[in-house]
């Protein structure tokens, strides 16, 4: 496994099959929000437990054991059994992976969560923040020790949905691969853009189509159909 940083800040891992996995490391701010959500959830759970249990001495004992198990166990169990993310991480769309892009196991998760103590020092996760700012993959001490990294969860990409009913059209001059990809990308994102914006973009493409607005857009559609069909 070799990894090299790309210009866009994504990590690329080369697998034995010779393909590259692209991962986007999550930065300190996102992870701090995730931590805050987790912390509030834990506080709420502990408060509920306290309401239920803190009546008798027996209840106090059970409460303290549960306090221990939830404090140290919650992140580990979440990361091992629920796809590498605690509740807060899931809400923010990030997950923990091993450095080689595989799901974490007990050892990695255990170590990275034990090391939270070291990351906290001297106060409010200062050591962890320094480590994240210094490290190219924004890992905290616990991540470095356990060999893990926190990355953004890949959004489920949809297969291409370009309208196939349009008559193909040859472009007036050859397009570079980069230009072709840009055009394809535009019409794959068509549904997420407003009609006005699309027309505006059509006007921008006047050198290519010789028209403006909707007519230009229609010609662009034809060119894209020609590229794909």
């Amino acid at each position: 496994m070799s990894s090299s940083s790309l210009v866009d800040g994504r990590l690329s891992l080369t697998t034995p099959e010779g393909v590259r996995l692209l991962l986007t490391p999550a930065g300190p701010a996102t992870r701090a929000w995730a931590w805050l959500i987790d912390f509030l959830v834990w506080l709420a759970a502990v408060w509920l437990l306290a309401l239920i249990l803190l009546g008798s001495k027996l209840g106090q004992g059970v409460y303290l054991v549960l306090l221990f198990v939830t404090y140290w166990g919650y992140p580990i169990i979440c990361e091992v059994y629920f796809g590498g993310s605690t509740l807060g991480k899931r809400i923010l769309g990030i997950e923990v992976l091993r450095a080689d892009g595989l799901p974490v196991g007990w050892r990695e998760s255990g170590l990275r969560n034990l090391l939270l103590v070291a990351d906290f020092l001297p106060a409010m996760y200062f050591a962890g923040l320094l480590s994240m700012l210094y490290d190219s993959r924004s890992r905290r001490l616990g991540d470095i020790v356990a060999g893990t990294q926190v990355v953004y969860r890949e959004k489920r990409a949809e297969r291409s949905n370009i309208d196939a009913t349009v008559a193909p059209l040859a472009p007036p001059f050859p397009l570079t691969p980069e230009q072709q990809r840009t055009l394809l990308d535009l019409f794959e994102r068509e549904r997420r853009l407003s009609p006005d914006r699309l027309e505006e973009l059509g006007t921008l493409a006047e050198p290519l189509t010789g028209h403006t607005g909707a007519a230009s857009l229609q010609r662009l559609r034809g060119i894209v159909a020609g590229l794909t069909q």
Binding site: T15, E17, G18, V19, L21, L22, S56, K57, L58, Q60, G61, V62, Y63, L64, V65, L67, F68, Y71, W72, D100, G101, L102, P103, G105, R107, G110, L111, L114, L115, L116, V117, A118, L121, L141, I144, V145, A146, G147, E154, R156, A157, E158, R159, S160, N161, I162, A164, P177, Q180, R181, L184, D185, E188, L227, T228, Q229
Partner: protein, 316 residues
């Protein structure tokens, strides 16, 4: 080849792979490696031919899922945990005999030295602990006090919870703080040794509390002290790998040290939990005579020392 053609040609393959990943096609799951190699080829082609970003993105995500599915599969190893704790862990501790010696010296050496100092010059106790604390300890171990003050099995459970929350967390902190050059781990061990030495010596000077204290601590101290020392050794190893990484980069050295030390830290946590159990339900039981507690305590010490000296030596 145009994109639509390419999609038409390979769409079925991608569909099959998706079904296998979702667990809906168990009969063809064995073919996944072969299908995966074809998928990787599709991804390479789509990148090279400059197909649309959506298509390459889709294939990229599918490849990533396959990669996790294939390489993330873990073989069933039912005996792992047992071997790990009963063989790997003691071996690892013996491999770290230098650090273990240092930890033993830091704990017992300091405890004995300060114990002797307080024994000879009692006023020195106040240099290490506040008078209030010493008084509290004195009150805690008055004969008969434990029995009355604890109030039966319910409060045993309460104390058990407290010991778990407090002591295991201390062990974890000792290990984690060790990353800063190992010094904090050593300091934690030394501090606890100091505490034990001063308190033990202080309570032994008063004939009233001598018996209650030593009968109380002897059994669970074996597990608790061992657990703390192991946490300290693991923490020191972590910090040392950062200071003296040897022939590796610091990052690799600390990663390797943490990997090998993980069984030790798990063992330490188990020992500390065991200690909490013994302390709450055996040591604090006033119904058991001091002689029995001494005998059982001595046996526990012997078993622990034998375990770390001998376990995992055979069958190498």
């Amino acid at each position: 080849m145009k994109q639509k053609q390419f999609e038409a040609e390979h769409g079925a393959l991608w569909q099959d792979i998706q079904l296998i990943l979702q667990g809906k096609a168990p009969e063809s799951a064995l073919q996944l490696p072969a299908l995966y190699r074809r998928l990787c080829q599709c991804l390479a082609l789509s990148g090279q031919r400059g197909y649309s970003p959506a298509l390459t993105g889709y294939l990229q995500a599918l490849v990533f899922d396959c990669h996790k599915h294939l390489y993330g599969a873990v073989a069933e190893r039912p005996l792992t945990l047992r071997n790990w704790l009963l063989q790997e862990m003691p071996r690892q501790v013996r491999r770290e005999w230098r650090l273990l010696t240092l930890a033993l010296l830091a704990f017992w050496g300091v405890a004995l030295a300060l114990g002797w100092l307080v024994w000879v010059k009692p006023h020195w106790a106040y240099a290490f602990m506040s008078p209030q604390q010493l008084q509290d300890y004195q009150a805690m171990y008055q004969p008969g006090k434990m029995h009355i003050g604890r109030g039966g099995s319910e409060s045993d459970v309460m104390m058990f919870g407290f010991y778990i929350w407090n002591n295991v967390s201390i062990g974890f902190r000792t290990f984690a703080a060790g990353i800063f050059g190992g010094i904090p781990a050593l300091f934690s061990i030394t501090f606890n040794g100091m505490h034990l030495g001063v308190v033990a010596s202080w309570l032994s000077m008063d004939p009233a509390t001598r018996e209650t204290f030593s009968a109380f601590v002897i059994t669970h101290a074996s597990f608790e002290v061992t657990g703390l020392l192991l946490s300290g050794v693991a923490g020191m190893r972590l910090g040392l790998s950062l200071i003296a990484p040897g022939r590796m980069t610091r990052r690799h050295a600390i990663f390797a040290a943490a990997r090998t030390m993980f069984p030790v830290i798990v063992g330490a946590a188990i020992l500390t939990v065991l200690a909490a159990f013994v302390e709450a339900f055996w040591s604090a039981n006033a119904g058991i005579s001091a002689q029995v507690k001494y005998a059982v305590g001595a046996a526990c010490w012997a078993v622990l020392i034998a375990f770390f000296a001998l376990a995992g030596r055979a069958g190498r």
